[in-house]
């Protein structure tokens, strides 16, 4: 096997066997399976649903579930590696062919890859590490009417509650701002937005 695009490591033995089994599927069966796979890749949290769909596919096409799961594991190696390495659909096609999949099926899969890659890339980016991510912001503002030191006050206060994800837990941070601080905060945030937009 020549150099593969999607991985630098040697591929497990079972993969070529699984590719041969795949070649046995009809075009229709292969396209149905591909659809299942991309459905799972674009919604990786829906594991239950994916497993149910796989077992339905197995029953409908009279394939045993065990070998089917192994085949699926092998296939998934390619899109996962391709995503990490920003591979083009050409490179994905070439990799499948190098692994032993028929040209027809490899081209079909590569096409589907091209269609789905923007969604998949966005998902991968979304999974990237974020430090103390801001999840939510709540606010209220009002007027301080009086205090123990001043009978009549009449000053405006703004209170913000920031919900921050620290590791796996959420933390609430409460802050109070005066009016001038609020305007300067708003101004700075608008500058940040301009800066972020210029880099997008």
């Amino acid at each position: 096997m020549g150099l593969l695009n999607f991985t630098r490591e040697p591929v497990p033995e079972a993969v070529s066997g699984d590719m041969q089994n795949l070649n046995q599927l009809s075009a229709q069966q292969f396209s149905a399976l591909t659809e299942l796979l991309f459905c799972f890749l674009t919604e990786p949290k829906e594991v239950e649903r994916f497993l149910t769909q796989l077992s339905d596919f197995a029953t409908m096409n009279k394939i045993s579930l065990g070998p089917l799961k192994n085949i699926v594991k092998s296939i998934l190696l390619v899109p996962n590696g391709a995503l990490k390495r920003n591979l083009s659909s050409e490179q994905v096609r070439a990799d499948f062919i190098a692994l032993g999949l028929s040209e027809e099926k490899a081209s079909y899969f590569a096409e589907q890859w091209k269609v789905n890659s923007p969604t998949l890339t966005r998902l991968a980016v979304g999974q990237t590490l974020m430090i103390n991510q801001l999840i939510d912001m709540e606010w209220k503002f009002g007027v301080t009417a009086g205090s123990s030191e001043l009978e009549k006050v009449g000053s405006i206060f703004l209170q913000l509650k920031l919900v921050i994800k620290k590791g796996t837990q959420m933390e609430n941070v409460y802050i109070e701002l005066t009016l001038p601080q609020f305007y300067s905060f708003l101004h700075e945030m608008e500058r940040v937005k301009t800066s972020l937009e210029s880099f997008s």
């Binding site: 920003n86 991510q133 030191e149 921050i164 609020f182 945030m189 880099f199």
Partner: protein
């Protein structure tokens, strides 16, 4: 702040023994700024300057504290209002001097009271930077801009006394989060101007 009592005005007369007008001025400021708990210690410090016994000094310091705080509480800004607080037979010159000192300081004292009132932790400073994420374990090449915002937050002034605790919180915002935040801040601004224009 309860109104100043007769006995307290009597105690104020000890000020007549103060070495100078500036000494009275300084004492007024110290008495206002000191929290009730610190007045006893303050009284001990001013004893020698006023040639007064410890008990007399304490009564004076409490009286002055109550008087200045009462004026600030009520928000009195006119000389007549302050003069009318004093009893009929109060020493005329001292009354005028105290009124003058209070009027000089009233704005600063009011600001001081407002700055030290109870509140949620306050924002004291903010800094930001924009980073471009170029690579991660889930995707090896990308160019995603992200914002890091550092907020310096000071705990309630009343709890910290003279050593305010300032903590720094660094928060990361994606472009989408920032857009949503700006939407919220814009709504606050609109509501604020609606209230201001009423």
């Amino acid at each position: 702040m309860a109104a100043v009592r007769e006995a307290e005005f009597a105690a104020l007369q000890s000020l007549l023994r103060a070495p100078s007008r500036d000494a009275v001025r300084q004492l007024c400021q110290q008495c206002f700024s000191s929290p009730p708990a610190g007045l006893a210690a303050l009284a001990q410090r001013v004893c020698p300057g006023l040639t007064a016994g410890p008990e007399e000094a304490e009564q004076l310091v409490f009286a002055l504290h109550n008087l200045t705080r009462h004026v600030v509480y009520r928000g009195l800004t006119k000389a007549e209002d302050i003069l009318s607080l004093f009893p009929e037979n109060f020493h005329q010159n001292l009354k005028n001097l105290l009124t003058k000192i209070i009027l000089e300081n009233i704005t600063a004292w009011r600001n001081e009271a407002q700055a030290s009132q109870i509140s949620l932790p306050r924002l004291v400073d903010m800094d930001w930077r924009v980073d471009i994420k170029t690579s991660s374990d889930s995707i090896s090449r990308m160019a995603v801009p992200t914002c890091l915002l550092q907020l310096k937050i000071q705990e309630d002034v009343a709890l910290c006394g003279n050593s305010p605790v300032v903590s720094a919180l660094t928060v990361e915002l994606s472009k989408e989060t920032l857009d949503t935040m700006l939407e919220g801040l814009g709504r606050i601004r609109d509501q604020l101007s609606a209230v201001a224009n009423k």
